[in-house]
């Protein structure tokens, strides 16, 4: 029953995806990695559900592979926004470091079938720092209303989600049956997931909304800008 409740709350990811599909024409190319991430998130949730409920197998392999993909896509997304991962080589370095960390944790010291928190904490930490940098840069260099800026909203979502992920992984490491607080934190992850998905839905709406500002009909490379 709990699995089904978790599955339903995790399917809140469908809200931003639906908005994105309906208003797909308005999606800027620079936000494509984010939209792909949402779709991959949905696929990962479905496969996880199938692993647990149909094949009676743990979803550790799905989570581990998805974590690596998620990390790389978010780093690429932040790189595309420029102001966070300012330099190409820094982006390469961070991606290579994260990939190396994953390989060492999963393939050298562990395996795909058991949960381990280190990589998930590590990349969550990196993404939180980069998102904070993105938000701070926007606070000083953007003249428009920040809450209407999709980059700001998405970065805010990243900070909330991945900061909680750090605490969640720590709680999971302690064990949900070993501490009442840890158990509550683990349960709370579903609600945080729901909340951030709603934030992402607003962000997708804002991306497509911004594209209707009238400038685009006068931009010669308008078609190139879209996917």
């Amino acid at each position: 029953m709990e699995n089904i409740t978790n599955f339903i709350s995790s399917q809140s990811i469908l809200i931003p995806i639906f908005i994105g599909i309906i208003r797909y024409k308005g999606l800027y190319k620079t936000y494509n990695p984010f939209f792909i991430l949402l779709i991959l998130g949905l696929i990962a949730e479905i496969i996880s559900f199938m692993f647990i409920n149909i094949y009676r197998h743990g979803n550790a392999p799905v989570i581990k592979i998805y974590s690596l993909v998620e990390c790389c896509i978010i780093l690429y997304q932040l790189y595309l926004w420029k102001s966070t991962v300012k330099y190409k080589y820094l982006f390469y370095f961070l991606t290579a470091t994260c990939a190396a960390f994953w390989v060492i944790e999963v393939l050298v010291f562990g395996n795909l079938n058991t949960f381990s928190p280190y990589f998930r904490v590590f990349y969550a930490f990196i993404i939180v720092l980069l998102s904070i940098n993105q938000i701070n840069a926007m606070m000083f260099y953007h003249n428009d209303i920040l809450l209407k800026n999709p980059k700001f909203v998405i970065s805010l979502g990243f900070i909330i989600f991945f900061l909680y992920q750090i605490i969640y992984e720590a709680s999971f490491y302690i064990g949900y049956n070993k501490s009442v607080v840890a158990n509550k934190i683990i349960i709370g992850f579903g609600y945080i997931n729901l909340f951030t998905n709603l934030i992402y839905a607003i962000a997708i709406f804002l991306i497509t909304q911004n594209n209707k500002d009238g400038y685009n009909s006068f931009l010669s490379d308008n078609k190139k800008q879209r996917s």
Binding site: I167, Y173, I174
Partner: protein
């Protein structure tokens, strides 16, 4: 189990602490960059303004001035026997003289030639003598003879002095203004003191009325200077400006 819980909590807290510290450091870093950017913008604006002033002053001085003088010359070469016409011609000649004089004044205000040709001290003395001739304000200028002022800050200091004098005449109702330029190793002080009605600095700043003050502030920022205003209602105004003089 207790150890595992303890270390997990410690590491998680540490990570969150790093996130918070990073947030604060990042804000400070961006704020510094933003201030620098603002400074560069103001500097660019003021430099453009100065260049434009120089261009207009040169145009006035080099093309309009000689043209008016030539007109006057031709007017004097006309032979007129009629007294009424002669009087009209003299009047016109007088107006042309006035136009030439006004043109020189405008040109001087835009960019004082003495500042370009000599130095700040000479330019300020000339500026004060021009004002004294018009009996607008009694200005006392005090400067040490051996003081050397960097060329880079001269124009900005001159504009600051112009702004102070302008503000004193326009707003203070003062009878006397004392201007002092004093030097210290690597530093230069410009002190102005008037006996006018003074003002409430906070109120002026809050009401965004102090455009002149803003201009002084911007100029100070460009030359990495700082300034202090000491004033209260009915007690005059004292401005102390400190700039690096390297």
């Amino acid at each position: 189990m207790t150890d595992k819980l303890f270390y997990t909590v410690i590491i998680t807290s540490l990570l969150i602490a790093i996130v918070i510290i990073f947030f604060v450091v990042s804000i400070i870093r961006y704020n510094k960059r933003y201030i620098q950017l603002q400074k560069e913008r103001i500097q660019a604006q003021i430099m453009i303004q100065e260049q434009e002033r120089k261009r207009i002053a040169n145009d006035l001085h080099d093309s309009l001035g000689p043209l008016l003088s030539t007109v006057k010359l031709y007017m004097h070469s006309i032979v007129i026997n009629n007294d009424a016409d002669k009087e009209a011609l003299n009047k016109a000649s007088g107006y042309i003289d006035e136009a030439i004089s006004n043109l020189r004044e405008i040109s001087y205000n835009l960019i004082p030639s003495s500042l370009v040709r000599n130095n700040l001290i000479v330019a300020v003395k000339e500026y004060i003598s021009r004002l004294t001739n018009r009996n607008l304000l009694n200005i006392k200028f005090d400067v040490a003879d051996d003081i050397l002022i960097s060329k880079k800050i001269e124009l900005h200091l001159f504009r600051i002095i112009q702004e102070i004098v302008h503000n004193t005449i326009k707003h203070s109702g003062a009878a006397t203004l004392k201007l002092t330029i004093a030097g210290q190793p690597g530093l230069l002080f410009l002190i102005s003191e008037d006996d006018g009605r003074g003002f409430n600095l906070t109120e002026v700043r809050q009401a965004s009325e102090g455009l002149g003050l803003k201009s002084i502030e911007n100029r100070c920022e460009i030359i990495n200077g700082t300034f202090k205003i000491v004033t209260t209602v009915n007690a005059g105004c004292k401005i102390i400006i400190r700039v690096p003089n390297l």
